[in-house]
């Protein structure tokens, strides 16, 4: 038994045995096999080999095999305690990281607004104010020096002395 030189057709012979050829390939194979003794013999050999191999299959108990397969464990839709713990840990870490990042950027220390009210000892309505809006880092040396001078001049004391609530008795008979 020789091998046909037409490798394409020979590769299709198994598909012909299993009847899985397209209509076009089926026609090609049929036409070739009709005129090629080698391929006709090979096709017969494959048919016979397939029958023998099919017959050789040991009988197996399908029910017994299926019974041995463990049932599928469907997953609960409720998150487990471990899941909540992981989520809480991630949240705490995220908040901590964000706070640290803000602090490092100076956003907490350099928030851009300084506003202080002060008094120079006058009446309660006579207040002195110091205010600054913007970023300290954006000031040049001259502006910083001016701001420091204003701070030095600023009276940060209590705006006014509290008014007396209790009547002060007058001394009689001279000084004590």
């Amino acid at each position: 038994m020789n091998d046909c030189p037409n490798a394409d057709i020979r590769d299709l012979l198994c598909n012909a045995v299993h009847d899985t050829l397209s209509a076009d390939d089926r026609r090609r194979v049929d036409a070739h096999v009709a005129s090629c003794a080698d391929c006709a013999a090979e096709l017969a050999l494959l048919h016979r080999a397939r029958v023998i191999l099919s017959r050789s299959a040991a009988q197996v108990d399908v029910g017994r095999i299926a019974a041995a397969i463990p049932a599928r464990r469907t997953r609960s839709r409720m998150p487990s305690v471990a899941t909540w713990r992981i989520a809480a840990t991630i949240a705490v870490m995220a908040i901590g990281a964000a706070s640290l990042s803000r602090a490092r950027d100076g956003n907490l220390l350099d928030s851009g607004v300084i506003s202080v009210e002060g008094a120079s000892g006058g009446p309660a309505t006579d207040t002195q104010a110091l205010s600054f809006s913007g970023r300290l880092s954006s000031l040049d040396d001259e502006e910083l020096a001016q701001l420091l001078a204003e701070i030095d001049d600023f009276d940060g004391g209590t705006p006014a002395e509290p008014a007396a609530v209790l009547p002060v008795p007058a001394w009689e008979g001279g000084t004590p």
């Binding site: 091998d3 050999l45 016979r48 023998i52 050789s56 040991a58 299926a66 397969i69 463990p70 469907t74």
Partner: protein, 184 residues
């Protein structure tokens, strides 16, 4: 593949897998019924005579345990063949080590391929069985998957962990060897 053409109403393997994942245990039984015989046939071609049912059962148990990892890039049957083949090779390695033998090689000449003896109908078949029994292990596996199961070279390569080209070469070498033995 040699599975009989299914009617449009018959569920696909993917559909049965989805049903089983949803808790339908009957879907597992349908999948077993659909593929067990082919697995038993492949086990026979690998030289197994005893414990075939146990091997097939272990194959299914292992497959269902890891169905989540089955991506469907190959057919389910191809995947099952792959699992069964690995199981069998592992068992043989363990058995050989226990006996103190050298590790088995993929191209060992078959010595256990007697499962077909009982199914010979005439002298021609007897010669054909004898010819197939003399194939190397790799040739026999490829020959069985191609001839008995009708698998493509690509699927055969997946089962054997080889290449499509290598599967084609093994198949044609096996066929040539069988022809030569028939001509003797």
């Amino acid at each position: 593949m040699s599975t009989a053409p299914r009617s449009p109403d018959e569920p696909t393997d993917a559909g049965l897998i989805a049903r089983w994942k949803a808790g339908d245990e009957r879907a597992a039984s349908e999948l077993v019924a659909r593929h067990a015989e082919a697995l038993a046939r492949f086990a026979s071609s690998l030289g197994e005579r005893e414990e075939i049912e146990e091997l097939v059962q272990d194959t299914f148990v292992r497959a269902f345990a890891s169905l989540d990892s089955f991506r469907g890039e190959s057919s389910l049957r191809t995947w099952l063949f792959t699992i069964q083949r690995r199981l069998l090779l592992d068992r043989r390695r363990v058995a050989k080590r226990r006996r103190g033998d050298v590790e088995i090689q993929e191209d060992d000449v078959a010595t256990e391929y007697t499962a077909l003896d009982a199914v010979v109908a005439d002298e021609t078949e007897r010669v054909l069985v004898q010819a197939m029994s003399r194939l190397s292990r790799m040739q026999r596996e490829v020959f069985t998957l191609r001839v008995s199961e009708g698998m493509s070279y690509r699927d055969i390569a997946d089962v054997l962990g080889s290449t499509e080209g290598a599967a084609r070469v093994h198949y044609h070498n096996a066929l040539r060897a069988v022809k030569e033995l028939l001509d003797e």
